[in-house]
Amino acid sequence: MEGTQAGKVRTRARRRKALQTVFWYAVLILISLVTVVPFLWIFLTSFKGPLDQVVSVPPQLIPRDPTFANYVRVWNQLPVGKFFLNSIFVAVCTVTLNVLVCSLAAYPLAKMRFRGRDAIFYLLLATIIVPVQLTYIPSFVLAVKVFKYYDTLRAAILPNLASAFNIFLLRQAFRGVPDDLIDAGRIDGASELRIWWNILLPVVRPSLATVAIFTFVTSWNDFFWPSLMLHTRERMTLPVGLMALQGMFTSDFRGIAAGVTMVVVPILIFFIVLQRQFIRGLTGAVKG
């Protein structure tokens, strides 16, 4: 008797567990509809042919007359390939230079004692609060009159040479490196530059990777400043080109959808490949 009683309780518990699992999957799927449907709708629209409805009640999602014509049209009218190359060039240069410059600066801030260290550190910290848009008017003047890089890709790279936030994150990472490692290097007669390159950077590689990935995505999606600088079609980055596309294809929803898809898919693939680093980077930003 008792055995079956316990068995019943167990089945009931198992059934409740199963019900809970179903409930949570339902919740998860509902939430993912909210984030995925707009993308899916744009993606499907980009394949719609001339016979497919863009305007209809109820909305038609699946193209019945699928075609690549929209992609071809966008590709032929705008140098989308060039946008890609420009974006890659700008993002790669920005990441390389920014990580180098910031990690150079982070080393003394984390591991050396010298006059003015705290003053410099707090000055850098304070610049995080300053809205970057505030600097665009003088930076525009500099670009036109001093650096003469208006309408070149350099203009999209150089102002992002250093960022206080990255210096801050890398300083946190360097602080976690044991002093013994650095002292060992010094006893061996290594220069500070060698210590930085051969000891510190390899040790904090995970932090470097997360800083690099975040800088890459920020640069890839950056719009305001590049849109002020880049005016020749062949020199535009993706977001700037996308705005131009919206201007050109005003009411051609299929074409715009194709353009948006071409821009979003690569960054999504990049994200999926590096998902783990992304998540760890976020955690690192808060926890140091």
């Binding site: 009640v57 609060i129 960054i267 808060v286």
Partner: protein, 292 residues
């Protein structure tokens, strides 16, 4: 630690300090100077004293922009509540949970311009999915001109900011949740806490550093909102300037109308607003990030 005086630390800092000086510190000084001048970027600035500021004080669009930027701050508490809720939902060991987490994160990496263009079509009067679904379900009798309705411009932009941010901030909170010791939840269960109480009394206090971080970051971002407005209103700022924010007004004055002097005064107002808002946050920001 290097104790004797040496040039080395300064040499390491030089490239970064030069970059910050040229692209941040100098521009702050310059924009302050421009704000007292009549300047169109092409011809040299002409000193006009406080004229820009006096004009600003009487400019209804500026006050509108200021109030819109302050209203935009509503996204911050909304984001915090929704992201914590989402973090709690995704903080469980289900098969395929990583796929769901990735799906929620997608809007955060796709870029504001691409998403903004998608949203413009989502809310389009003719072909928009929102109208299509609402009319089909009978909620609306006929398509609504969402983006031509001044009252909706700002809310739609805010909705977009929230939609883009929730997955991102939820990941931050998820990491925080995973650091809260399991025993605290067990203790709460023994004390007879319900699920909701458990999260209110254990999760929320445990997430304090993350809440501070998200609060500071998202409110600073809200005060500077620009791209959402630019894309959704197709560079116009919306009917009757219904979507104009501080940064949008700065952009329009400086780079559309070539009123760089006047725009600089807007920039200084933005700086004051941001500073006023952050002064009491700076210490929290540091504590939040440095909480080892």
């Amino acid at each position: 630690m290097v104790k004797r005086f040496s040039l080395t630390p300064y040499l390491f800092l030089t490239p970064a300090l030069i970059a910050i000086a040229v692209f941040v510190l100098f521009p702050i000084g310059a924009v302050f100077y421009y704000s007292f001048t009549d300047y169109d970027i092409v011809t040299p600035p002409v000193w006009i004293g406080l004229e820009n500021y006096l004009k600003l004080a009487q400019d209804p669009v500026f006050w509108k922009a200021l109030s819109h930027s302050l209203v935009y701050l509503i996204v911050t508490p909304t984001l915090i509540v929704l992201s914590i809720a989402l973090a709690i939902v995704i903080n469980r060991n289900l098969r395929g949970i990583h796929v769901f987490r990735a799906l929620y994160y997608i809007p955060a990496v796709s870029g504001t311009i691409a998403i903004g263009i998608a949203w413009r079509w989502l809310f389009d009067a003719q072909g928009g999915l929102i109208n299509g679904v609402l009319v089909w379900l009978g909620v609306l009798q006929e398509p609504l001109q969402w983006l031509a309705e001044p009252a909706y411009t700002l809310p739609i932009a805010m909705l977009m900011t929230i939609w883009m941010g929730v997955g991102y901030y939820a990941m931050i909170f998820l990491a925080g949740l995973q650091n809260i010791p399991e025993e605290l939840y067990d203790a709460a269960l023994i004390d007879g806490a319900t699920d909701l109480q458990k999260h209110w009394y254990v999760s929320v206090p445990g997430l304090r550093p993350q809440i501070v971080f998200v609060f500071v970051i998202s409110s600073l971002a809200a005060l500077k909102v620009f791209e959402e407005i630019l894309v959704l209103t197709n560079r116009t700022g919306g009917i009757l300037d219904s979507g104009v924010t501080m940064v949008f007004y700065l952009w329009r004055q400086a780079f559309r109308l070539s009123h760089a002097g006047y725009a600089s005064a807007v920039a200084i107002a933005l700086l004051i607003l941001t500073l006023a808002f952050s002064v009491f946050n700076v210490r929290f920001l540091e504590r939040g990030i440095e909480a080892d």
